[in-house]
């Protein structure tokens, strides 16, 4: 959906990067098999992290084999094969995307509407399947999406209040990763801060665009931006506020992260939590997080 939660490749071991890619590949294939071809196009790195957390906390039987991929048909690459490790991430992904696209259909500009309108029918069957397995989660996400929309209609809420529903969505999603009551609580908090991180990143990333088009943006309200073009000082003010908010968020995220009982893949998750997420925000902070730069940084 957003893809802000991703690894920082320059600091990864080659074998870790191979695994990371293999998980992404495996998840993509899983979604294709389970929910149809179009669901694969909606996959983002956020859910790769969810799958990795799942595999870190719970022991699954997994294996790797070499497979071809439609995006890069010329070469074979490592792909994760697992019976159950990817199930939950795929389900959570389709549930979240379904509601997100529904939201776009109602709110976004023409482009977003058309995209959502075209993809949604292909996802319906998949969504129903996933909802059958995680009915409570699907309902919670749906009501939180509504809450987010409601809170964004208000013009005098605090920045934290705008973050709340989105953060809660990730809280719900993350808390399913363990059956242990204590771990569940920690995972919930951990997820909350992941959601908060994503929301703040998204707000800053879209700020200039939202100003231009007159869309809602929590930063616009916080700093009372009314012009269509943001002056550099104004943007500076907003991004520094975001930097502090992100740092506060990441510190709390880390407090909960260290309490998680990870049995596998810890170095990869460490990379994502301590380096990757901050790197993504830095790119946004410096306004270099457009498609090209992002790919340069990760795929070169």
């Amino acid at each position: 959906m957003f893809g802000y939660v991703r690894a920082f490749k320059p600091q990864m071991k080659v074998c870790e990067y191979e695994i990371y890619k293999a998980v992404y590949c495996g998840l993509c294939k899983k979604m294709g098999k389970e929910f149809g071809f179009f669901s694969r196009m909606t996959l983002s790195y956020d859910f790769t992290f969810l799958a990795l957390m799942n595999m870190a906390l719970n022991s699954f039987m997994i294996s790797y084999n070499e497979e071809r991929c439609i995006a890069h048909p010329q070469k074979k690459s490592m792909c994760l094969k697992a019976d159950h490790a990817l199930d939950y991430s795929a389900d959570a992904a389709i549930i979240l995307i379904w509601h997100k696209l529904h939201d776009d259909l109602a709110d976004k500009g023409a482009k977003g509407k058309i995209a959502a309108f075209c993809i949604l029918p292909f996802l319906k069957k998949g969504y129903k399947k996933a909802k059958g397995r995680y009915n409570a989660l699907a309902n919670d996400i749906e009501s939180l999406m509504k809450e987010q929309k409601l809170v964004e209609k208000e013009t005098d809420s605090s920045f934290d209040m705008y973050c709340e529903p989105s953060s809660k969505m990730m809280e719900e999603i993350a808390s399913y990763l363990s059956d242990d009551i204590d771990q569940k609580k920690i995972l919930g908090k951990f997820g909350y801060y992941i959601g908060r991180y994503i929301y703040i990143c998204d707000a800053l990333d879209d700020l200039r665009n939202d100003c231009k088009k007159g869309n809602f943006n929590p930063l616009k309200i916080k700093f009372k931006f009314e012009k269509k073009e943001l002056a550099d000082e104004e943007f500076q003010k907003a991004r520094d506020y975001c930097l502090e908010s992100i740092n506060l968020t990441m510190a709390e995220l880390a407090e909960n992260y260290v309490k998680l009982d990870q049995k596998h893949f810890k170095p990869i998750n460490d990379n994502i939590v301590y380096l990757g997420m901050k790197n993504t925000f830095n790119l946004i902070y410096n306004e270099r997080y457009n498609k090209k730069e992002k790919n340069k940084h990760n795929n070169k």
């Binding site: 600091q11 801060y193 908010s245 740092n247 506060l248 990441m250 510190a251 301590y274």
Partner: protein, 206 residues
């Protein structure tokens, strides 16, 4: 019921300020935090209730008994509720803690109110508001260690601290100066100048 003035150790002729000060001292003395792991906790608790009730009553008398003591509980100076708020926060009952806090009107908001409000926000994950409240609390009462500790932790986090970071040496703060290509050239030219001063040369062309 005991004479409320005796409970607080003041005389009926004392000023409001003096009574508030006496009350504050007693609250500090019998605060449940001081007796968290002690068998005296229950006694302190009882004493605390007695002090709160006495203070409530005196304040009511002085206001001409305009309010019944049950209904005023949450809307004037003093901490009868703050003790309860702390209990709620500790037990994770954030909604109740917050509802007591929001009952306090602006003119009675003291440093402790801001600190507790900050704690409520912090527990909720509303970190920006938590930080602002801790800051206000600390500004209003700079000598309080509790407020200062909370603010310090927030300030450390704002600077980018993360618990358990295996590679803190990679500073990912975008404002921090790194070693760029520019820095390297500058360094070389400086070194060259130094060499030339001493009669040598590092970069022959300049």
């Amino acid at each position: 019921m005991k004479d409320p003035y005796k409970v607080l150790g003041v005389s009926p002729n004392d000023s409001d300020e003096k009574i508030k000060a006496a009350y504050k001292d007693l609250v500090k003395k019998y605060h449940p935090d001081n007796y968290a792991a002690s068998p005296l906790g229950d006694i302190a608790d009882e004493k605390m209730q007695e002090i709160n009730a006495a203070f409530d009553e005196i304040m009511n008398i002085r206001r001409g008994g305009a309010h019944a003591s049950e209904t005023t509980g949450s809307s004037y100076y003093g901490a009868p509720d703050y003790v309860q708020v702390r209990k709620y926060i500790q037990s994770g009952d954030i909604t109740r803690a917050d509802s007591i806090l929001s009952g306090v009107s602006n003119e009675y908001k003291n440093a402790e109110w801001y600190f507790l409000k900050g704690s409520v926000c912090y527990t909720r994950g509303w970190l920006n508001e938590a930080f602002e409240n801790f800051q206000t609390a600390s500004n209003m009462d700079p000598s309080n260690q509790e407020y200062a500790a909370a603010l310090n932790q927030m300030n450390r986090n704002r600077g980018g601290y993360m618990n358990g970071n295996p590679n803190p040496q990679y500073n990912t703060n975008p404002n921090a100066a790194g070693c760029t290509g520019c820095d390297v050239c500058q360094g070389l030219i400086c070194a060259d100048c130094c060499c030339e001063c001493m009669g040598g040369d590092l970069i022959s062309c300049c």
